[in-house]
Amino acid sequence: MLSNKLPSETKNLVVQRWPIELVLAEDGTSPLTVQLPPLEDILEMEAMKATHFSLKELAATAWVKMEQVFALELVALERKSERFSDSPSFLNRLADLADLAGNREGEAHFLERGQKLGKDNVFDHRLAENLLARGKFRDAESMFARMDLDTDVEANLRLAYFHLQRQDIEASLLLVLKALSIDPLNFGARLFEGALRLLRGEFELAIQSFRIASTERQNSSALFSNMAVAYVFLKNTDRALAALRRAVALDPLNENAVAFLADLAFSEGKNEDAIPSLRYLIGFEQKNPLMWARLARALLEIGELNQAIAALKRQGSVEDTSAVWNNLGVAYYRKKDPSQALICFRYAMTKDTGSRTQDFFLAACNAALVIAEKRDFDELLKFTSAVLLADRDRSILYDNTLSDLYVFYLHALKNLDQGEKAMEIAEELLSEQNIASNLKIWVAGVIIAYYAMEENGAQKAMSMVKEYEGLLPLRHGEMDVRQILLANNIVFACIESGHIKQANNYLRFIMNAIHKEPYPTATLGLLNMRKGHKDRGARLYEEAIRLAQSPVDKKRIRQKYYLELGIFWFEKDISQARRHLQKVINERQGESRLVAFATRMLKRLPLSRR
């Protein structure tokens, strides 16, 4: 193993909205300050700002018109007061019209008049509800408490709601159970009971309550959303998805259900399931940036890049935040437009001024990846140094995603022939307490590979192997990419330092990656070469070169392959050895340490035999 694979951008999408603050660049020479904003995208977003449609807003406006109509009807009905003012049902209707007209005080007035007639308790309930609507919670609660709690389901449920607001789940549950003892099939009581069971972590019981509720009312979208939450906690995501699909089918405007469906579908890799619902909702609710973000994420995941970019621009026209520009950058990156992606990432960083938040570093992390892929190591070093300086409390060191900035920083140093400095910093990082596990694994891998390649570094490499082998999991089936890379570097170090038996032991950790990943395949090729199985080794090296996707990786593996062939022929056939060592040296933009090694080997060939 010559170099660790860099982290990818796949996880660096932001969908949840974080609090964004604006920061001005402090360092005049910092690359953060010289970036032009992505004008085309900004103009497009500006143009879209005026074109958003919101059903919610329209409904509110339409309701105001309706209120005016009902206000007129109220006046018309009041004309009949002379004949019916002593009738409770007439007063109740006046209260209804007042409520529909948005006149809560008027509603209370009619209800109080009705209550004075003293013929039924309908008015007590409605008055309590009216107090609730007017924000007089204490009065409402005391009114509900005065009702006959032995027979009144609604009063019990309302009181349970007040208790829940005060975080008193137990008292709330007692009242709900009392309501259920009065009417065991009451939909509202069962729905409430299910929600309380969820809060208490009794997920099976919650589902049981929701099921009973669903027999009473089969078309409640909220009920199926709640059921989905319970299924998620029970890790039954298929049922959760089914419940959410049903919730969305029942109420396509239920934002809660649609957002939940989108998030769950994303986590399960079933983004196609959520896209129609998201699109439908967005058709009616274009002012909700969270929905645009979710649609963009889903489209990005299924590879509809242009549509994802369009969705992100719509999101950007609703809220101009760092997260939006970061996501737009990710979309451009996936669209193989790294220069536009870089502009977006940098612009995302300028959106975040004041105190440095996670959004700033996330965008920086993504920008660093793009620069690293450009192989502009000078810029990468300058950029990452500036960003790391901005992290005054070194918080990113403990974040599994953001700590990748250190990875890029070390990568830049290594490629600028400042390997020793890189290793010094890497060792310093490893000595830190509680650093992000991802960073620790990556750095350990880098150090092991570095010393394994050094002329007299075998002993140091093996001591590092001993120290960090504990970062590998107990079962090799549960390894993530970084752990595979660490394992690969450990095997590599063992081979390079001549511990073939030990290398065979560690080989099990990378078995699943051989023939799939280039570096583990090349490492097995190296092992075969060192065991003297030249043909098998050569085949594996050639396969690794085919598997490598970036030209840089291909070059490095090819260089190492030629170096191994040079070593193999060193004692057997001088001309073959010279030819292969020369190939290592001639490889353009190859690994400098391999070139140095090959040059040293070439010098060791006897003069007469050269």
Partner: protein, 396 residues
């Protein structure tokens, strides 16, 4: 809406006219609340009058000469259409009858220049129905359930009669229903056909943004801009019948209950209306409406007859619930087109209650008989004990 100055002058003149058209006396404006300065209805001024020829009270409908509305073609055409429909319903059972055909009253209005301007005021006479049925709705706690069901049956018959002649009222509400006695039997008649339409009647206005009738009784499709759709017109009446059924047995308004059960009802309506907006032809409107309904109808919670404070006897709750759900279904296709079916359900409920009443009466009678027998036996036993005690004392 207050009366315009022109209208006020017309009213004053008419009320002061001793004999109009040689037959109408004692004209009195009835659709204006002087206390609140509000006129009821938008098209016309309604007067009660005595028809000396027919020897009966009639209602005279004058086209309102409010200058702001006088030249409004919609109002004008609606006024003419009402007369046309009433002509068609002449001598039809359970339908409002025309008492006098369309005539013109030339009303001279003095102008500042001193020259009098003449306004030709169109009017027609209709049957005067003075029995209101509002007390069944606004004083429902005092009404018997059987009475309410029989009244609803009468309302159904009235609407059925209109539909039989392809007339669709489109503004059914308690205010627009009156009763009269025919052969000592109460007959309900739907009045105010100002918004009524027929399949064959032309469009006064192609697209409506609001329902033509009262919003509290309007079907979703009427609120969503399809109020002019002729095919849907009968279903609008059927929906209103459902609202009336609910309001006969509950102290609250149907619309209030619907909105309470569906807090997002307004958003749902707007979502539905987005499907039909901009669609001009009726078949396409129907097609689009069906698409919208497929998306939104399933999530609407239908209103149950047994809301808080309901007076429905438990025995007929399921029966009336099914009926109410059918009548007020969000999807018009699920509403019954045939009112005979609705009446049969209402009659089932009536029979059910009558049987219950009979059974209760019979049970009471049996209990009373048993009580009397027991009382008799008790008295007999007491007598015997007295006799025995006397005998014992005598033996001692």
């Amino acid at each position: 809406m207050p009366l315009s100055q022109n209208s006020q002058l017309l009213v004053q003149t008419l009320e002061a006219t001793p004999l109009l058209d040689g037959r109408f006396q004692n004209l009195k404006l009835v659709n204006f609340d002087a206390l609140n300065d509000i006129k009821k209805g938008c098209f016309s001024l309604v007067f009660s009058a005595y028809d000396a020829v027919e020897n009966a009270t009639v209602a005279l409908k004058f086209y309102d000469i409010d200058p702001a509305l006088f030249y409004d073609p919609y109002r004008r055409n609606a006024f003419l259409r009402e007369h046309e429909i009433l002509q068609l319903l002449q001598s039809k059972e359970r339908c409002l009858q025309l008492a006098a055909p369309m005539a013109v009253y030339d009303f001279s209005l003095p102008t500042p220049s001193g020259v009098a301007a003449t306004f030709p005021c169109q009017y027609f006479g209709i049957q005067w129905l003075d029995q209101e049925i509002e007390s069944f709705f606004y004083r429902q706690q005092d009404c018997d359930t059987l009475d309410k069901l029989r009244l609803f049956n009468e309302i159904l018959l009235a609407v059925e009669a209109l539909h039989r002649h392809e007339v669709f009222h489109r503004d059914l509400k308690p205010d627009n229903l009156r009763a009269c006695e025919v052969l000592q039997k109460r007959i309900v008649v739907a009045i105010d056909l100002g918004t009524a339409a027929r399949f064959s009647s032309g469009y006064i206005q192609q697209h409506y943004t609001v329902p033509v009738g009262a919003i509290g009784y309007a079907a979703p499709e009427a609120i969503c801009g399809l109020a002019a759709h002729r095919y849907l017109a009968p279903y609008t009446d059927i929906y209103a019948l459902g609202c009336l059924l609910f309001e006969l047995f509950n102290p609250g308004l149907f619309f209030h209950e619907l909105v309470s059960r569906n807090p997002k009802y307004q958003a749902i309506l707007l979502g539905l209306s987005s499907y039909v907006q901009g669609v001009t032809t009726e078949p396409h409107q129907l097609l689009e409406w069906k698409k919208g309904i497929a998306r939104f109808a399933a999530g609407v919670n239908l209103v149950d007859i047994e809301a808080t404070g309901s007076s429905v006897p438990p025995g007929i709750v399921p029966l009336l619930n099914d009926l109410l759900h059918a009548l007020t279904h969000t999807n018009f296709a699920n509403r019954p087109r045939n009112l005979e079916w609705v009446r049969s359900r209402v009659w089932s409920a009536i029979r059910c209650l009558e049987n219950q009443k009979l059974y209760a009466r019979a049970l009471m009678a049996r209990r009373e008989r048993r009580r009397l027998v027991e009382e008799k036996l008790r008295k007999k036993a007491e007598r015997l004990q007295t006799v025995l005690a006397t005998a014992k004392n005598a033996i001692k």
